[in-house]
């Protein structure tokens, strides 16, 4: 399978994005999907879409809605609430991408 690119967007610090990035790598690996993960701040999302060309975005902060790329909420990876649901959605989206 072709390598899928995931962009992780967070607030100001890269810390939450890194935690989420590790979780996303784990679930992709479990699902047998090769992924490349990049991180950025919310303000950099539009620029990174041009340069990194992600298949999906996982955000722990608010990102613009009109990006033309599926955006998933990364907060469940931090709070533990609704993790299974968002994991399933991300795997599904990566398979389709």
């Amino acid at each position: 399978m072709e390598e899928k690119r995931v962009l992780i967007a967070c607030g100001t610090s890269i810390a939450t994005a890194t935690v989420v990035a590790e979780k996303v790598k784990e679930i992709a690996q479990k699902a047998g999907i090769p992924v490349k993960v990049a991180q950025c701040k919310a303000a950099e999302v539009k620029g990174r879409i041009e340069t990194f060309r992600p298949h999906i975005i996982v955000a722990t902060t608010l990102v613009p809605k009109d990006l033309g790329i599926p955006v998933f909420n990364g907060i469940p990876f931090l709070s533990g609430v609704g993790v299974e649901a968002v994991e399933a959605q991300i795997v599904e989206a990566l398979k389709k991408a």
Binding site: T12, S13, I14, T18, L62, I75, L78, G80
Partner: protein, 165 residues
Amino acid sequence: MMMEWVREELVIVPMRARSAAEVITQLGIRLEQGGFVKPTWIPAVLEREKAFATGLPTPDVGVAIPHTDPEHVVRPAIAVGVLEKPVAFGEMGNPEGVVPVQIVCALAVAQSDLLVALLQRLVDMFQTPGVLQRIAAAKSPKEVVQIFQQYLQWSQPAGAEEPVG
């Protein structure tokens, strides 16, 4: 040697506060008195919280992890407030969301690698069934310190990461 992230003098239980700003200020004062953060830490955290809230909608017991940039931190620590009555924090990642928060972990970390490692442990700890309930029910700072020691399982002393090469 165990890294002492949480010390008794950095724990406020029970904590009485009416707003997130009051909680952050009370915890910030403890951190500042202990020499863990600079006087700029409190205003920096209050400002960051407006733009990037840190309330996590964890099950049953809400948690917030206010923090800010490394430049405001002197040495690593976590100040913990266990609120008598939940206080509203903005929800992380959702500008319209509000989380009733009962446990506040104010993070003072000067290195981004260390902050990432700490966040990973904290997130796992928060997701361990019953842990947040135990912290919320704690009656003394000592109890809170013991719970963090048990579940954070941090074996590295502060500032002594694995030598490189």
